[in-house]
């Protein structure tokens, strides 16, 4: 039998490490769009990590948070993109 729980947690750890790596792009830029892009990737990673944790720890309620986060991630990316194009046009 393959230790699924360990694998899922290991994958989660790898995803966090990749998130730290992507953080370099968020800090470095050079443009705002680069940063937003990096945050978007980070957000997708977060959603996946949450899903992995939900499966590994067997807490399905984490999936609800993941759902909220998936939507928020999108909202933030679009809002900032729109903001940088026409200042004040966020809403």
């Amino acid at each position: 039998m393959i230790p699924t729980t360990g694998l899922l947690l290991g994958a989660a750890a790898v995803f966090v490490v990749l998130a730290i790596a992507v953080l370099y792009r968020a800090v470095r830029g050079p443009t705002t769009q680069d940063r937003v892009l990096a945050i978007n990737v980070l957000g997708t990673n977060t959603v996946v990590i949450l899903a992995l944790l939900a499966a590994a720890l067997d807490v399905p309620s984490f999936l609800d948070i993941a759902l909220v986060y998936a939507l928020l991630n999108f909202l933030v990316a679009v809002a900032i993109s729109k903001f940088t194009v026409d200042r004040g046009g966020v809403m």
């Binding site: 609800d64 759902l67 194009v85 026409d86 046009g89």
Partner: protein, 365 residues
């Protein structure tokens, strides 16, 4: 505003019979839109280049808008036409062209795009016009999908129809569309089901009640935003069935080209060759265009950067992806989903000559 009852400004019938052959004046349907100014300029350009003699700007306004709903609509339309006239005079300082404006359709019941097309055609026939310039953003009754079919309708009636070019700036469209009981109920049903889905279908009285309350709030706020088109159940069912076929194909495309792009990214030399390209796609309407744009972005190696009507500005990462884009397999698949098998097999963008690489022209010079 004083004489707004006499709708046609200027002497409409004077030169009607003189220009009855192919060199007649140009007809431009106008309405409140962001690109109206550029359209007016373009129409004047076309008319002076082709020695067309005149331009007619007409504002189709349906009866039930102009007198039943809001009497000020007529005033506003009249004002719009005066503005257009002033712009036309600006673009044609010598006054070489006869510019005429009119409100049409005010005594008819205009509903679908075909009604608009019919009213425009009647006006055109009356004045010996065979050529139209259409504002890309012109949108009778604010329905996003109506314009393309009005164009098609006019073209099928034997008119030369041309869309004015327009480089769009930041766009602030109206979100609101028409919505009725059907839209409300559909949205309510979907939201309610979604709520129950998140609750794991517990089906307690609390869940049902709060779900219904949330669904009412959601659909009351959004029923005029989210479902624009009239609901046609049969067409929707057929589309959904074809969509089921489309998804595996899209997944296959995604995985294959992902491997390609992954190879390029992991290769130590980074063998990429990014280019901006422009493709004039053969899909119409907001939903198909959205689907195609998203599919293009999802397929690795191609990223839709700007979508302006049917013209997509696509960034491509590797040559293979660029070839795939120009071969138009995704475009064909999207046409298959939305218009059926018959529409799928038309020429590829490459064969149509509807694609080019931006910036290449500069290099050859």
């Amino acid at each position: 505003m004083a004489d707004h009852e006499s709708a046609p400004v200027g002497d409409a019938d004077a030169d009607a019979d003189a220009d009855a052959d192919s060199d007649g004046p140009i007809l431009v349907p106008v309405g409140e839109s962001v690109s109206l100014r550029t359209t007016v300029a373009h129409a004047i350009d076309v008319a002076s280049d082709g020695d067309r003699g005149g331009v007619h700007f007409v504002a189709p306004v349906p009866l039930h808008d102009i007198d039943d709903v809001d009497p000020s609509v007529r005033e506003a339309t009249q004002e719009l036409l005066e503005r257009v006239e002033a712009w036309a005079a600006e673009d044609d300082p010598e006054g070489a062209l006869t510019v005429e404006t009119a409100i049409i359709g005010a005594d008819e019941y205009l509903f679908g795009p075909d009604d608009y097309a019919a009213v425009l055609a009647a006006y055109a026939d009356e004045h010996g016009i065979d050529r139209l310039v259409i504002d890309p953003e012109y949108n009778p009754r604010g329905n996003a999908s109506i314009i393309q079919s009005m164009e098609a309708e006019l073209a099928s009636l034997g008119f030369a129809v041309e869309e004015a070019p327009f480089a769009r700036r930041v766009r602030r469209g109206r979100f609101l569309q028409r919505g009725g009981r059907a839209q409300f109920l559909t949205l309510f049903g979907v939201s309610f089901l979604f709520y129950q889905l998140l609750g794991g279908f517990a089906m307690t009285r609390f869940d049902l009640l709060t779900g219904a309350a949330s669904a009412v709030i959601v659909s009351a706020m959004l029923y005029r935003v989210s479902l624009g088109d009239r609901l046609r159940v049969a067409a929707l069912a057929r589309r959904s069935a074809r969509l089921v076929l489309f998804v595996p194909y899209l997944l296959y495309e995604i995985i294959v080209s992902n491997l390609l792009v992954s190879y390029a990214i992991l290769h130590p030399k980074l063998p990429i060759e990014p280019r901006m390209t422009e493709v004039r796609t053969a899909v119409w309407g907001s939903m198909p265009i959205t689907t195609l744009a998203n599919s293009i972005t999802l397929t690795p190696g191609t990223l839709s950067v700007l979508v302006d009507g049917r013209i997509f500005t696509v960034h491509t990462l590797v040559p293979t992806a660029r070839e795939g884009l120009f071969d138009g397999s995704l475009e064909r698949a999207v046409r298959f989903v939305f218009y059926g098998r018959a529409a799928a097999g038309i020429a590829t963008p490459r064969e149509r000559g509807d694609c080019r690489i931006l910036g290449e022209e500069d290099e050859t010079e």
